[in-house]
Amino acid sequence: MFRSQYDTDVTVWSPQGRLLQVEYAMEAVKQGSACLGIVGEGCVVLAALKRQPNELSGYQRKLLKIDEHMTIAVAGLNADARTLAKTMRTECLNHRYVYGAPLQGARLVLDIADKYQRCTQMYVRRPYGVGLLVACVDATGPHLYETCPSGNYNEYVAVAIGARAQSAKTYLEKHVDAFKGCGVDELCKHALKGLAGCVAGDKELDAASASLAIVSFDAAAGEAATQIIEDGDVQKYLDTVEIDAAAAQAENMAVDDAPAADAMET
């Protein structure tokens, strides 16, 4: 079997000017189950599709609360996401101790992107195999960022990553004008509709596999608050959306053929 000579560690370039290890890591993100995020009026909503590695097992959690004002959705190697989440939580906590105020999302995302980047330049490490969607509401308003193993990061109004994310992206691009000025409830509907197209095979989005996170400004508390909605609690939101998974999939014929990712247990 053909194997590339140039992919044994991240410090070796291919003659085409590519770092294959980094690209493989990006591929790991594409194999993780889908998640998406949308920015609305003073709030951000994340939705993630949870996988069940085994018929008898629980579902792998995809939404991790970082701080009161910040939540991440992960696609890729969940174990890698945990170490990044730990770093992010520590940074947020330290910032609260020193400044008595929540950390700016942009500053933290930059630090995390630098952490990713270090792994793309040192042969003793491997790149992180996970992409994050970071949702936060801070002093400069609501923000949504995507980070990826290459060390790149971007801010979005709406974005989707993971397996079959193209379906969600198509949905988001189509409805992007509607997001402006959207409240939490409307945004959750859009998020679930977008996510519905990412479900594998003939399955449908259900309360067990769908999860939602809302980061919004809580006027009563005077600061941003995170709410993660999972398991039975999602049903209420699913009920408000007429999900026609078949229609959603038919609508987006350009769905990328994501490879079977069962072995990855992501």
Binding site: G100, A101, A106
Partner: protein, 251 residues
């Protein structure tokens, strides 16, 4: 040996393994000191005042020292105590400002955050048994809210409507508390602070009649040039020598 880009440790903080090296030394007393800083909240924001003297013991050594500085767009920081430690604190605050500038994301620390940061800095230094020997007053105005707080050399921090450090805590604070009310306007606030500075100049032997007034309002922060306050020495206790003795009436 010093390498390029290698910053030497704070001289009195060097830990040496050599037995001939002098022992580790901490700041155990201030050397060049500033006296009181006063701060009050008023209708449109916050006003801070201090004189411009830095004393070397009882010697009035430097008479044109700025003891109130702007940091960022919303905040004023005033200091009494060791002037070199105050300058070290200002350098930290400049670092904070520069980081915000470099990030270029439109974010700036609010007065509350700077106050909280200084609290952490002062407390950490004290935990190393090497305190930054200052009483700081932080005043600021952001998002329609005035902020006034104080941090001391042990990291003790509190907020209030009127604050005075050093001798001012004994001489000026009672006056400020008696005259302060929630909707005090700018003119009244200024008059009140000048009255207090005058009393301090009369009674605090480390004070000066050259003063700086500063304010933080919705229009941003402003620090005045130093100016001289009017004094009146016709008071009997100043004119008539004390207890009938010859002399200048001083003590």
């Amino acid at each position: 040996m010093l390498f390029a880009g290698h910053e030497p440790a704070r001289a009195n903080n060097v830990v040496s393994s050599s037995p001939s090296a002098p022992p580790r030394q901490h700041t155990s007393r201030p050397i060049v000191t500033g006296t009181s800083v006063l701060g009050i909240k008023y209708k449109d924001g916050v006003m801070l005042a201090a004189d411009t003297l830095a004393s070397y013991g009882s010697l009035a050594m430097f008479k044109d020292v700025q003891r109130i500085s702007k940091t960022g767009s919303y905040t004023l920081v005033g200091a009494s105590g060791e002037m070199s430690d105050y300058h070290a604190i200002l350098r930290k605050l400049e670092g904070l400002e520069r980081d915000n500038l470099n990030a270029n994301d439109g974010f700036e620390h609010s007065p509350v955050e700077i106050y909280s940061y200084l609290r952490a800095v002062m407390y950490q230094a004290r935990n190393k048994f090497n305190p930054l020997w200052n009483s700081l007053v932080v005043g600021g105005y952001k998002d329609g809210k005035a902020f006034l707080g104080s941090v001391d050399l042990r990291g003790t921090a509190y907020e209030d409507d009127v604050i005075a450090t050093g001798f001012g805590a004994h001489l000026a604070l009672p006056i400020m508390r008696a005259k302060w009310h929630a909707d005090i306007d700018e003119g009244e606030a200024r008059a009140l602070l000048e009255d207090c500075l005058r009393v301090l100049f009369y009674r605090d032997c480390r004070a000066l009649d050259m003063v700086v007034l500063s304010k933080a309002t919705a229009d941003g922060t402003l620090v005045s040039d130093p100016y001289k306050i009017e004094t009146d020495w016709s008071s009997a206790s100043f004119v008539v020598p004390k207890a009938g003795e010859d002399g200048d009436g001083g003590w």
